[in-house]
């Protein structure tokens, strides 16, 4: 069976820019970057990006497909939107970074174990279950993502904060047994499945 990644390589050959334009959220903006570097200098996590958005845009145009999609750079985005409001060409940079991260994740190319990639998945799976985020189950899922003993260590380290939040009525232990939920859970799940099906078809991921 050919993977979605192999299909994309066969379809777009060496034209990675065309692939990004077709399959990445707001990807059609990439060609508009004029390489001024304001985004690189505006990012709060700037020093931690292996390649700044400015570089990522040039790498896309240079066809560096593997380097871009396997990079953990996009996963450094905190969604602060500083790059968007400062970009002189008005590129929706935050959206493009989110889009690239999602595309790399869905193709299976994003770095394994990248912590933001992992918690993004945990968060989405959590909210889709009931239609609303269960903060307690999300926290526990994060602590225990690297196994049981590491989970106990993580939970112990955060114990005093957890107890403080409970005392302040901002964390409810009963959320473990249900908690807040939408009534039309199944409608929401069907809606999300349909939206994903449409998007996957459009992006050749189906």
């Amino acid at each position: 069976m050919t993977t979605a990644n192999e299909k994309a390589i066969a379809k777009y050959k060496n034209d990675f820019l065309r692939e990004v334009e077709a399959n990445v959220e707001d990807g059609h903006w990439v060609k508009m970057c004029m390489q001024c570097g304001v985004c690189a200098g505006s990012c709060p996590l700037g020093p931690h990006w292996e390649h700044s958005p400015q570089k990522i845009f040039m790498m896309i145009r240079a066809g560096k497909r593997e380097e871009v999609l396997k990079s953990d750079s996009m996963w450094m985005c905190t969604s602060c939107y500083n790059c968007i409001v400062r970009c002189p060409r008005k590129l929706p940079i935050t959206h493009i970074m989110h889009g690239l991260a999602n595309y790399a994740h869905r193709l299976g190319l994003a770095p394994q174990g990248q912590p933001t990639r992992e918690i993004a998945k945990l968060f989405w799976d959590n909210l889709i279950k009931t239609g609303r985020v269960n903060e307690l189950k999300f926290s526990l899922a994060m602590y225990f993502k690297d196994g049981f003993s590491q989970g106990i260590k993580n939970a112990m380290a955060m114990q005093s904060i957890g107890l403080g939040l409970m005392k302040a009525k901002r964390l409810n232990p009963l959320e473990l047994f249900g908690g807040h939920a939408c009534k039309d859970k199944s409608g929401i799940q069907k809606m999300i499945a349909k939206a994903r099906e449409i998007e996957d078809r459009r992006r050749g991921l189906a």
Binding site: T78, H105, A120, A168, M191, I192, R196, E199
Partner: protein
Amino acid sequence: MSKKQYAFYPGCSSQAKASADNFLRSIEVVKEKLDIQLNEIPDWNCCGASIGYGEGGELPRLALSARNLALAETNFAGQDMVSVCPACWLASRETAERLSENSSLLAECNEALKEAGLTFKGEVKARHFVEVLIEDIGWEKMKEPVVKPLEGLKFAGYVGCQTNRPFGIAGESFENPKYLDKMIETCGGEAVKYDQKVTCCGGALAFSEPEKAQKQIRDIVESAYDHGADMIVTPCQLCQANVEIYQSEINKKQGTKFNMPVVYYSQLMTVAYGGTAEQAGLDGQLIKAEKLEKIAGK
């Protein structure tokens, strides 16, 4: 006087006993004094927040917000939809704008919404509660109910990211928005100069990249101390949680002695309007805002 009516989208963090439980309690007095009625959208769902993109992609994420918008249109026709959480507001407004500008995206979204028995017409406007206060109520009216001006209290107005970017409040600059300082002053407090006003707290990366996010939080807290603030004030639920909760972690790791309260603008307003500490949700602080409690107790 008849109350101003809005379709209300509280969001996950503002639910009872969730991380911003005290925020939702703190707007009760504000609503009452300013004749605002918030009509909760029945069966609203999570907006996907800023981290939803990783697994959720574009269309599933837009569909989540479109469902809320469609429910608002159906149940409270003619009313603006109001969020109190910046992430909820950003997702809803982005969805409303993108779907109204792009008919093929709207068609795809409605195909998905049909599975939940809904259609989004694209009529409702997604707004933030701060916009309601500034644009619909106005500064004069906001000042009228003040009976206990917060005299002698110094606040660092921390706007953060998503209330400010990419949309922001009309007429404000992205680099130095003034409205939060003006809200502090309207309540009779002093807004100190504060150079970390629009710095990112790390957002969801506070969970996945704690070291990197805690560097941001340290800057935000340190600057409040440097400028002589008694406490930090913010309009954002995630900023509040991150900046308050992780101070003890930073103290443990870096030997600092941070103990800076982080409160919401609505808590200032409630106290200034004569509400009790409990009505202001001050019992929900991990780091007690003692000076504010003292005024509330007078």
